[in-house]
Symmetry: C2
């Protein structure tokens, strides 16, 4: 299966969305429900700044969508395709 360099880069970028444990955990929490930055930070035991930085990246990749309500910002998954990748990957890790 020959692959153009462009598609290889796009494919690599897609998988890069899930190649960090912090991002994987963020995605895993957002699968269940919408969450604010501070709720994510608490659930993941990460600083709000670190979470915010990661969310920024996920936002730029269009994997996550932000909804502002008062001074909180709630995040949800924007791309269900990534959830499928996540599930397939988890399945592989769990029953190998």
């Amino acid at each position: 299966m020959k692959l153009t360099e462009l598609k290889a880069i796009q494919l690599a970028a897609l998988f890069s969305a899930l190649n960090d444990a912090s991002r994987v955990r963020i995605i895993s929490l957002l699968i269940d429900c919408e969450m604010s930055v501070s709720a994510l930070a608490e659930g993941l035991k990460m600083s709000e700044s670190a979470v915010s930085h990661q969310l920024r990246g996920l936002r730029q990749m269009r994997l996550v969508r932000a909804r502002k309500e008062g001074r909180q910002v709630f995040y949800t998954l924007d791309d269900d395709h990534v959830v499928k990748l996540y599930s397939m990957g988890l399945d592989h890790v769990e029953h190998g």
Copy 2:
């Protein structure tokens, strides 16, 4: 879906296997057929050293298997699960 830190790390590691354009292209070639290091290097227009370094990583992740024949080493995919991830990702990149 709560995720332990260990599983998050394992999941991230799995996706890290495909988060680089060179590796994606290596996988894409190996989907079709077994290939030697030099054939891969030529097909990808990469140095044999660079290809070999990447293959080492893929080997350590058990995604690729080596078979020695004379002074050549032929590589094949060892893990069909990764092919599924690859295909699903490619599908996403190609049609929406």
